[in-house]
């Protein structure tokens, strides 16, 4: 509990406990019992590591268990076999110092923008004034100063994402987990949000696991791209992205030759899996 408070209240300590932010996923397997009584293997022996402060993108075809992996890293779900270790400690229950951003905006519609951002500190029992100040500061950082008293339904999709981003980052997480956070946005808004995410991430440098379908987005944002196979999910390949940081605008970086080269390499690996997954679902539908 004490460590949670430290993380939440003193900005800039993220770098101090660097080693705590290492995520080691080894031999992760998850099986479900289907309603028909069969065992369905969603994940089969997934292993990869995210170094402290590293931005790791996970790409793979639909239904390859990406989201399942994330829920086990955050402690929302438990693995059937294998383990997730965060900072050397095995994940049991909700992992400390983790924030999660979902594809659907998980804001509380009955709370104002400020109330939504305040959730993290309130749950961690941060003193009210301190929490308020830090929530206002984070809203300013995501460019929403002046919108504190609005309700989520009064905001655009992009603005709601910013609120979610502020709500996720206000706890100064060691680990930020993002499940296709910008998947529902239009292309232009997505590019702007990605650029903003990068600049915020550079301020507090949590380790990030970022799920996406969009290979361009993955290469533009990440230090490391993990390609997963489809059903059951496992790691097919891991690519290190050596584009220099800070990367600036996500839209600009797409035209660099190195970007295009990496994008091609990864796509060659991914394509086969996507086609296989597509054939499976198309076959299932017929």
């Amino acid at each position: 509990m004490a460590s949670r408070n430290d993380v939440a209240t003193s900005p800039g300590t993220g770098a101090a406990d660097q080693a705590d932010a290492r995520i080691e996923i080894s031999g992760l397997t998850k099986r479900f019992l289907t309603p028909a009584g069969e065992v369905f293997t969603a994940l089969d022996g997934v292993s990869f590591t995210v170094e402290p402060g590293q931005f790791c993108a996970v790409v793979g075809p639909t239904g390859c268990g990406k989201s399942t992996t994330l829920s086990m890293v955050s402690g929302l779900d438990r693995p059937s076999e294998g383990s997730v270790r965060v900072g050397g400690r095995e994940v049991e229950g909700i992992t400390d110092g983790v924030s999660f951003m979902f594809q659907t905006d998980a804001l509380l519609p009955w709370k104002t923008v400020l109330g939504n951002v305040l959730m993290g500190p309130v749950f961690r029992r941060v003193p009210k004034q301190q929490a308020q100040a830090s929530a206002r500061d984070w809203l300013r950082r995501v460019g929403l100063a002046g919108f504190e008293d609005r309700y989520p339904h009064q905001l655009s999709g992009g603005m709601r994402k910013r609120v979610a981003m502020a709500a996720a980052l206000i706890n100064e997480p060691r680990i930020l987990i993002m499940d296709e956070p910008f998947g529902a946005l239009d292309v232009q808004t997505k590019a702007i949000m990605s650029t903003e995410l990068l600049s915020l991430w550079e301020q507090i440098r949590p380790s990030v696991i970022f799920i996406t379908h969009d290979l361009d987005e993955a290469v533009a944002l990440a230090d490391r791209v993990v390609v997963m196979t489809s059903g059951p999910g496992s790691v097919k390949a891991v690519f290190d992205i050596d584009l220099p940081r800070p990367r600036g605008s996500v839209q600009e970086i797409r035209f660099q030759p190195r970007f295009i080269e990496l994008q091609h390499q990864i796509w060659d690996t991914l394509r086969e899996e996507v086609e296989r997954a597509y054939a499976l679902t198309a076959g299932g539908a017929a």
Partner: protein, 291 residues
């Protein structure tokens, strides 16, 4: 150039002004038409009733008569009933209905939220609640009167039982409908079980609960009235029963009218509460927006 653009701006403003005026006129016309229709319908039904009793098509001895109902209503308010003033009887019924409503709504919400969150509890208690719900609960009134006498307690209990099930099922469903990713989000943010209930589950279920309160108050009144008809010393149910025994349909209709006014009043109050508690909801798209 400048003059031309100013001129065109004024022209546009004029057009906009004109459009707004036409839209307002259309809206006013529509409201007037709606009210004309409402008044015409009421005049047709009440007038038709009055005329058909006056012409002898319908016997006012059995079916009452609007003018007679009005006379009886004035009489009731002026001279009261054989068991105290009319106001006193109204107050008895309101008290019973309100107490039953409060007890039923609170227990309904508590049970609904508890069972909605606990799979085990809902698996254990679910079948029994369904069974009790299948019983015609009005009959419970007889048992309550045998057990608790003809005071206010059995009426409150009957009203509470009727209200409980409506509120319970809605609260339960409301809790079940809580968005999964919202729940996951607050759990990751470090919320405890109590915090989840307070910040997420209850506000989320509130939409359902408040919707159920609208119909629940009607049932609270039904519970109180049926209890009074079954046996009481005062209350509107007793007034109705007495009128029935005296072959006085006008008395029954007059009391019915009073009850309708009470329920509408309660409905209005619940509507106000709803707007207050659910002010975060996006406004429903109305006719006015699409004009």
């Amino acid at each position: 150039m400048t003059t031309a653009s100013t001129a065109s701006t004024t022209a546009i403003a004029d057009v906009k002004d004109g459009a707004a005026r036409t839209a307002r006129r259309a809206a006013r016309r529509r409201t007037a038409l709606v009210w004309a229709g409402r008044i015409a319908l009421a005049a047709f039904v009440i007038g038709g009733w009055q005329l058909s009793t006056m012409w002898g098509i319908v016997d006012p001895f059995f079916y009452g008569q609007p003018s007679g109902i009005w006379k009886r209503l004035v009489e009731l308010f002026q001279h009261g009933t054989q068991f105290g003033s009319f106001y006193q009887n109204i107050w008895t019924t309101i008290q019973e209905a309100l107490a039953g409503f409060a007890v039923g709504a609170v227990t309904g919400v508590v049970f609904g939220v508890a069972l909605g969150q606990s799979r085990y509890l809902s698996d254990v208690l679910g079948p029994y609640i369904k069974m009790v719900n299948a019983i015609p609960r009005i009959v419970l009134g007889s048992i309550f009167i045998v057990a608790f006498g003809i005071g206010v307690t059995p009426k409150i209990l009957l009203a509470a039982v009727l209200v409980f099930f409506i509120v319970f099922f809605n609260a339960f469903q409301g809790v079940r409908e809580v968005d999964r990713s919202v729940l996951a989000n607050v759990r990751v943010l470090g919320a405890s079980r109590m915090q989840i209930t307070r910040h997420v589950v209850v506000p989320s279920a509130l939409t359902w609960i408040i919707a159920s309160l609208h119909s629940a108050f009607g049932f609270a009144i039904v519970g109180a009235l049926v209890g009074e008809v079954l046996g009481a010393q005062s209350g509107l149910g007793l007034v109705i029963k007495t009128a029935q025994n005296n072959f006085d349909p006008n008395g029954v209709f007059a009391t019915m009218l009073v009850i309708a006014v009470i329920v509408l009043g309660a409905e209005w109050l619940i509507g106000k509460l709803e707007r207050r508690l659910l002010s975060w909801r996006p406004p429903a798209p109305t006719e006015a927006n699409s004009l």
